[in-house]
């Protein structure tokens, strides 16, 4: 094993750790915002009484959150991930506009 190879391995490890950290951040925060945005959006667009709407959205929230987290850790390319993040932000903006 040459010196440069082990240096590369070290860099790779550092990169890997940053990627993990980034994904955790996106999964936990982004997933939360996604679930929240979809939840609120549901209460704004579905034709049900207000109470039922809120309860339905609330019941679905953690399923949405879990799905988002699983998705973040399952996509391979970083670009797809960014599209997902951007989509969530657009959704959030829409919700803020609606409420």
């Amino acid at each position: 094993m040459s010196k440069s190879a082990s240096k590369n391995a070290g860099q790779e490890l550092a990169l890997y750790r940053w990627q993990v950290f980034g994904r955790i951040l996106i999964a936990v925060l982004g997933g939360y915002l996604f679930a929240l945005a979809v939840g609120i959006l549901l209460t704004q667009i579905l034709p049900l009484p207000r109470g039922s709407l809120v309860m339905s959205a609330v019941l679905a929230s953690f399923a949405l959150y879990a799905t988002a987290i699983i998705w973040v850790f399952s996509v391979k390319s970083f670009r797809t991930l960014l599209i997902g993040v951007a989509g969530t932000l657009i959704l959030l903006a829409l919700v803020l506009f609606l409420v």
């Binding site: 990627q19 679930a35 939840g39 207000r50 039922s52 809120v54 929230s61 879990a66």
Partner: protein, 531 residues
Amino acid sequence: MKNGFRQSMAWLHTWTGLVVGWVLFFVFVTGNLGRFDGEIDQWMKPEAPVQTASVAQQLSAAQARLQARAQDAERWTVYLTTNRDTPHLRIRSEEPPVNGKRGKRTEEYLDPATAAPLEARATGGGQLLYKMHYALHYMPRSVSDWLIGICSMFMLVAIVSGVITHKKIFADFFTFRPGKGQRSWLDLHAVLAVLTLPFFLMITYSGLIFLVFTLFSSILGSNYGFGEKHRQEFNNELAGREDLLVEPFGTAVPLIDLNNLVAVLDERWGQNQVSTVEVIYPGDANARVRVSRNMESPLRSTDELIFNGTTGELLSEQPASGVAPRNIYETLLGLHESLFAGWTLRWLYFLSGLAGAIIIASGLILWVVKRRPKQIKQKSGPDLGFRLVEGLNVGTIAGLHIAIAAYFLANRLLPLNLPSRVDWEANIMFSVWLLALLYPLIRPIARAWIEQWTLAAAAFLLLPLVNALTTERGLNQSLAAGDWAFAGFDLTCIAAAGIFAAIAIHLQRRAKPATATTHGVIPGIAREANA
């Protein structure tokens, strides 16, 4: 984080499980004991026999006490001894909300004969132990709700990713291969998880739903506005309880005698069917009395009658079942709390919870077993992180049981007139747990496992003995008298002691040939992994 969907899910499963595993183990063990909180309450108040007063007498006593003590409260709740969950009459008063936050709540147990506080030792009882599983201890609910919420969310993700990772659910459904090291731990982990998957998913998701109005408060807030007031408005609107959607009138009008309602209740539901009586705005002209029936199914909402609190007029009758989203919500919570469950189902709940604890524990142990062969070969010795996990495993998986036994022992051995006795019971429990967590620092891991399991066995064996010596309700008396709360508690302690002792003996036997060569290892397993 690895290539391939299944690999990345396996990665996610491993790490989400590890990070919150110890908290989840605590939650599962204490929550599981909560299945018998009423019985533990009885055991921890040996002076107070189960009350058998009539509903009317209980209501009179509760009303007298509340009127004397909580005149200014916005809400009273009386928990009647008509179901196994409430061995002693309990009252609760809640002050009006301050700054949108829920008002202060005070709880008290009563003697229905005298309307005075129940004469029994000060103890947190089964209720405190049960409460720890969602509120932890030493912290406000605003913190614990988020902590428990995050841990539960991790668990949900761990369950989903675990199912995806476990590609042979059907092929391996009935397969357990003992005595093969890592493979056995994996089998145990997977087989129990697959078997109890419906329970596991239900308990996790419903646990989260308990916290949803804190964790996702904006969903409610964006539709109703934030704060406790709007939360109640939402609740009443969803349940169709228009009669409760009132503001205090501001004029003082005395509340009716609550026991006058008993005749109506008996006529509608039959005797002893009422579980709680709630009074809103007691002493106000707009007072309302909401009476709830005992649960009969997982649906937590029950039949309700709402009365005018100043005239006693029946305003409306609410059926247990309402709109679909509310029914789903109430069923999830009802399934979680299991108040509807009879004895058979209650024990099955308990066994499922036990399986849950074993799944979590085996997952934590698996993490160690998998990495050990590489770690012990390292020249510099095992990594700090690895040793930390090993230590936390011992201190939690074995040590928590010692701590719980200490909580029960403290109930019997602390002086009865000790100030803040309730706090000291919990302090002792958590001190013992802390010691158990620190213990692996000074002992080799393999020895620490054996010693802590031995200690746990001894502590649980001590409980029935101490009970027999300090009360009149030892195992010989309770068995003879058919006192099943006491006999059940003592017998369960003996059974637990037996299991812990068996684990200790098993580890000791396997340790003998291996101790010479392996340091810091659960005995036996390293030999197989290397073979």
